[in-house]
Each structure stands twice: as C-alpha cells, then as structure tokens.
C-alpha cells in the first residue's frame, strides 16, 4: 500500500513536470491547452472506475460473494469523484477556450453530465435501502446499467460529428506532437495509479470499519 501511494505521488509530480516543462505550448489554444493533461486522463480514469464498479457488480451477481458489493461501491465512489473533477476542469477549460462555462450543444459534455448524475443517484438508491443482500443486489444491478452509458458518452463526439468539443484521438492516431502525447500518457498513468491507491485506501478503511462493527456487536 505505501508503495502504491508513493508511486502515485511520484507519478503525479512527474505528470506536472511533463505538462508544464516538457510538453510544448499549443499553437492554437496557448497555455490553456495544458488543462488537457489533467482533464482527459481524469475523465478516462472516471470511465475506468465506473467500468471497474460494474465488473465488481457483475461478480457479485454471479458469485454472490459479499465482498464484491463493497468493492463495487468504492469503485463507483471513486468514479464519481473523478467525474466531478472532469466536469470542473472541463468547465474551466471551456471558459478559457470558448468563453463559456458550459455548452449545452455539445453531446460529449451533456452525455458525461448524464453519466455523472446517473452514478450520483446510485448513492441515493444505495442508502435508501437497509444494509443486506437486497441493497447489494439493487446497487449491483444499477451499477451494471450505468456501464452502458460509458461507450455512449465516450463515442458520442464521433457519432454526432460534434465540432464544439475537440477530438484529439482519431483513426489516424493522436492529433498532437510526440512530446505532447508522452506528457498525456504520463498523466494518464499518474491518474490511474492515483485512483488505484485511493481505491485501496478507501476499501481498507471500509473493511476495517465493518470488521470493527462486527467485533463491537460481539463484545457488547
């Protein structure tokens, strides 16, 4: 665990160095393009967390092993945090580039917001049901439904031929210089390792909490 946390801290530091000191300034957008090095990896990490949560939900429904419920919940929680950060950094970037905090005409933005709100409602559903197999099953089914929105959100920009939100990755490869792409890859790796470290820490805390609750009930 400390090794993963140290790797996450080191990689995030390295990602900042690459984003600000190694990657060249974009000729079109100028310095505001540097938001890209955190915004896009955070968005991809949010997708990955929701996907991971859905996978754990599927495992729960398949095997009926209780531990997958907590793992799915923590992954969805991480995805929601990274999703909120995607919306916040994206909104700031939109203001810097387009002069507006939000553009409703962009399918990519609206579909990501829908995905975020869908997973935010997951917590309302989860905490409205008493703890037990019923809550675990309902949460798992909901998390699985949400995963269908990920490819829709991800490919919306290509399907709708949206020209508002920029398309960086096309069939011809990444539309950026080699150094920019390297900075992006370092940032993506940093965000993935950071998300994994936070996932492990949160899961550890929740498991410890559950074990202590059981112990307290046994002792009192």
């Amino acid at each position: 665990m400390p090794l993963i946390a140290a790797a996450a801290a080191g990689l995030v530091g390295l990602a900042i160095v690459f984003a600000f000191l190694v990657a060249p300034e974009d000729a079109d957008q100028g310095i505001s393009q540097r938001i890209f090095y955190f915004h896009v990896p955070i968005a991809l990490t949010a997708y990955a967390c929701f996907g991971w949560g859905a996978w754990k939900a599927l495992r729960l429904l398949w095997t009926r092993e209780e531990r997958y419920d907590l793992e799915s919940y923590v992954a969805v929680h991480q995805g929601t945090i990274f999703g909120a950060l995607t919306l916040a950094t994206g909104s700031i970037w939109a203001k810097a580039s387009w002069g507006k905090w939000w553009v409703w005409d962009s399918n990519q933005l609206v579909l990501f917001l829908v995905l975020f709100l869908f997973y935010s409602a997951y917590f309302m559903l989860r905490f409205s049901i008493e703890e037990g197999p019923r809550r675990a099953n309902a949460s798992a089914v909901y998390a699985l439904f949400g995963v269908a929105l990920i490819p829709v959100s991800f490919f919306a920009i290509r399907l709708a031929e949206d020209f508002i939100h920029p398309t960086t990755f096309t069939r011809d490869g990444p539309q950026m210089t080699g150094t920019m792409f390297l900075a992006f890859c370092v940032s993506w790796l940093a965000m993935s390792v950071l998300a994994y470290a936070l996932y492990r820490v949160e899961l550890l805390g929740k498991r410890l909490d559950a074990n202590l609750r059981e112990l307290r009930e046994a002792l009192t």
Binding site: I31, A96, L194
Partner: protein, 51 residues
Amino acid sequence: MSQSDYVVAAYAIVFVTLLVYVAIIAAKLARLERETAALAELARARRDTHG
C-alpha cells in the same frame, strides 16, 4: 482572468479535492483507531472480570 489563471484554477481544484479526500480518510482512520482502542479496553476488562 487570464489564460494562465484558468490553468492554475483547473490544477488547483484537483489538488484541493485530493487534499479534502485525504483529510476525510485521515479523520476516518483516527475514528477507527479510537474505536479499536475502546474495544481493546473492553476486551481487557472482560478478561480481568472472567479471571
């Protein structure tokens, strides 16, 4: 606001969120530590009572 201010704001929001998250986890771990100590105390008292 200048373009560089927006960049600073975007990166700052990520780090502030991360700091808040770590602070919440730290507070939770501190609570768990207190609860563990209380349970250990309870277990010791039971052991002493039962001989």
